[in-house]
Amino acid sequence: MSGQTVPADFSGHMLDLDEDEDLEVFSKNTSLADGSPMPNSPSSMVNQYRLEDEEEQQDTYTKDIFVSVDNPESHITAIETFIMYRVVTKTTRSEFDSSEYEVRRRYQDFLWLRSRLEENHPTLIVHPLPEKFVMKSMVERFNNDFIETRRKALHRFLNKISDHPILSCSEHFKVFLTAEELMSHRKQGPGFLSRMGETVRAVANSVRGLRSRPEEFTLMQEYVEDFSSKICSVDKVTQRIIKEQREYLDELKQYSPTYTQWAESEEELAEPLKGVASCVERCSKETEEQIQHLSEALVPALHEYVLCAETLKAVMRRRDNIQAEYEAKNEALASRKADQESLQDEVDGLADRVELANNALKVDWSRWQNSMRTDLRSAFISTSEKNVEYYEKRAVKGRPLLIEKCHLGRGKGARTPNLSVQLVQQVAINHLPKDKVFCKRIE
């Protein structure tokens, strides 16, 4: 595993804690809007620690919260129609009052959750949501495939959050999973205007530019740019392959009826022709399945990481902003003589903020990389396996066809060694009764 450092501040505490206890430990004075503890709560630290050891994502036996998204249903009101998804939570965590929850949520609720999480943890990598509905495609908003694709992505999103050592402890997350009715909670929190204010500051800071970005974050930035372009390319190529395969499939489907038609005019050749016809038909089915699998397994995974790349870019920006803000204040401190004490406090606070942000990012970065590798690796392998299966099926089903043809007899006479050895083996292995045609030919 790549070097992942546990933030030096916290390591001292880990040794004192019981894994099962979920103690609220003191937090530093960096306040977050929802009041939830920063990444120094014991459970999250413990989770973090565990993650360092594991190559893979958390095994189920260490998970103490399970979330699923299913059962999309149309919900019709006077003003609009939308889909509600059922979100089921099962957990042993003590901060939850009950061990099971079932609520209904709509897409907007997910958007709310995510934006809250991003706000509270600006330099953590919060998994992206499936995109909003875009009119450009031919897909209807309530098309079943679209809904199903979205449901799967929402499910993944919640699971990514619940697997995250820090984000899963978020109060907003808890509210999202448990509150019967979310609207009242959505109204709370920093309003639109304050968010606007932050954005303005961010823009101003970015205009000012950074003094010096630490080397490691520059490298990260470069990586993010490259990764983004590569993953987009892979996504595009995959889409193109699917398109080409669909067109191939359309043409392939025309073989079988033609061979069948031919078989009708023939006597001796009818059997082999029908064999080829069914062979090609099965080929078509296999190809169809392969395309299906590509669409269902690889494309969503790639797409998710395309969105991830955008998330990463945003995270890098926010980190830069935090640093920029600190630098700005620091400069002000250096130039202004008056009111140094309070300004100093402010600057100290910002310095801490920068440090925390950086550390959070560093930790989360490794975590994200592992996760990315695992996800993409399994997507690619699953695709390869499907490909192998696909070709295997074609080969295997071809063999009985071959035997069938042997059975019908082939003339005597010289054949190339490969062909005849193959055939002899096939016939011998299968102990086929000799057809009279076959016998006649031998005579």
């Binding site: 390319s233 191939y248 006479g413």
Partner: protein, 438 residues
């Protein structure tokens, strides 16, 4: 495996042996040789090479054309360690093959004459060029021409033809020999008969069935070839796009630390995969050529049926003509007019003719009837003979067709399987290589 054939014939040497897909071709040729015509017992034939030439054509313009080298050598078994005799060789161009075939068609109208490879590339898909000078096209044509010669050489009737023998052995002067046979006159009448519209009163059911079968075969093979061209195009596209993966994975591997090797190797495999399409399509091309041969064979079958129709028609006309004349005689003899005729009218109007006149007319009619009867007998014999010889060849052809096409279909299936295995191997190793490194 070759020992089964229990023949002492040498296998016809195929000029170009590095195409494995020609194994099936080999099989068909081996079968032809086993048939053991007198000609093939004497000599081995192959079309070894192709060369470009430029020269002045009939309208005195420069043109570039391809010539093919025909090799013949005595078919003796070569002792161990001995070298085979040097072959006799001559060069022929495609138009000379065409001339030979036209001669055979006209001279043996009851024989299903083997077809030549196509004059222009049809059923092309985008990668194959339709250019006659394209080396791939020339190569496939070389194979097709050799196949043609061997088919003729293994035919029980055609192999004995002198002009064919001279085609293989006399470079100069062959053209004059062919033209001397006067076959050109028959060419026109053949063309006319092929396009003529006439109705046969009592068509021979067997020929009707054969013509119908031939038409069906033609339709179905054309359809297959068209589909194949489109499928090939598409499949080519799929493989080539996979090549893009190769490039992207390689670039991506450069920015990753842990995944780097896995991505790199995945990239290589994608490149290999993309390149493998060329072999796959070449193998398929061979199968397509085998289908094409039988597509063109259907034309030959059709023309035999048409020729039969023509003969049948002529026979029926002769019979009808004879019957008409006999009837005329009867009328003349008995004085009755059964059927309205101008003669009858005029005699009624202008009076009966004299006894002399009548007798001379009767004599003429008798003569005519006799001639008519001879004609009918001739035509009858011709027809019977045609039917007999044609059906002999048709039965031979049916057997050959069944064997060849079964062979082709089986090879096609095997080829598909082996292609799958090869690709599976690629994919499998791609999967196993990416797994541990990622």
């Amino acid at each position: 495996m070759m020992a089964d054939s229990a023949s002492t014939e040498e296998v016809a040497v195929i000029g170009n042996t590095d195409i494995t897909s020609a194994e099936s071709e080999n099989n068909i040729i081996n079968t032809m040789v086993e048939r053991g015509t007198a000609l093939l017992r004497k000599m081995e034939i192959n079309v070894a090479e192709a060369e470009k030439r430029t020269g002045k054509n009939t309208v005195n313009m420069q043109e570039t054309y391809t010539v093919y080298l025909i090799e013949t050598r005595p078919a003796e078994s070569v002792p161990e360690g001995g070298t085979p005799a040097t072959p006799d060789t001559l060069w022929r161009r495609y138009s000379e093959f065409e001339l030979l075939r036209m001669y055979l068609l006209v001279t043996y109208p009851y024989i299903i004459v083997p077809p030549l490879p196509e004059k222009r590339a049809e059923f092309v898909w985008h990668k194959l060029s339709a250019d006659n000078l394209d080396p791939d096209f020339v190569e496939r044509r070389r194979v097709g021409l050799e196949n043609f010669l061997l088919r003729v050489a293994s035919h029980p009737v055609l192999s004995n033809d002198k002009i064919f023998f001279l085609f293989l052995t006399e470079e100069k002067g062959w053209r004059e020999e062919v033209l001397d046979t006067g076959f050109q006159d028959k060419v026109d009448s053949r063309l006319k008969s092929l396009s003529a519209m006439f109705r046969v009163k009592n068509p021979d059911k067997r020929f009707t069935a054969l013509k119908q079968y031939s038409d069906e075969l033609n339709t179905v093979i054309s359809q297959l070839l068209r589909v194949r061209a489109r499928v090939a195009d598409r499949l080519y596209g799929v493989y080539k796009v996979h090549g893009n993966y190769g490039r992207v994975f390689s670039e991506w591997s450069a920015i990753e630390k842990e995944m780097g090797d896995g991505l790199q190797s995945a990239g290589h495999h994608m490149d290999t995969y993309a390149a493998s399409i060329d072999d796959i399509l070449e193998e398929e091309e061979h199968y397509a050529d085998q289908l094409k041969e039988y597509l063109f064979y259907t034309d030959a079958v059709r023309s035999v049926c048409r020729k039969h129709e023509l003969i049948q028609y002529e026979l029926e006309m002769a019979v009808q003509d004879l019957a008409h004349k006999k009837q005329q005689k009867e009328e003349l003899a008995t004085g009755t007019v059964r059927v309205f005729s101008l003669k009858g009218m005029t005699s009624k109007l202008f009076g009966q003719e004299s006894q002399e006149q009548r007798e001379s007319r009767l004599a003429a009619l008798d003569q005519s009837i006799q001639e008519g009867e001879e004609t009918v007998m001739e035509k009858n014999t011709e027809c019977k003979e045609f039917v007999r010889t044609a059906w002999e060849d048709i039965e031979r052809f049916k057997e050959q067709k069944d064997k060849d096409l079964r062979e082709a279909l089986i090879s096609y299936a095997i080829m598909q399987i082996s292609m799958c295995k090869k690709t599976k191997g690629e994919d499998g190793s791609a999967a196993t290589r990416t797994e541990p490194s990622i």
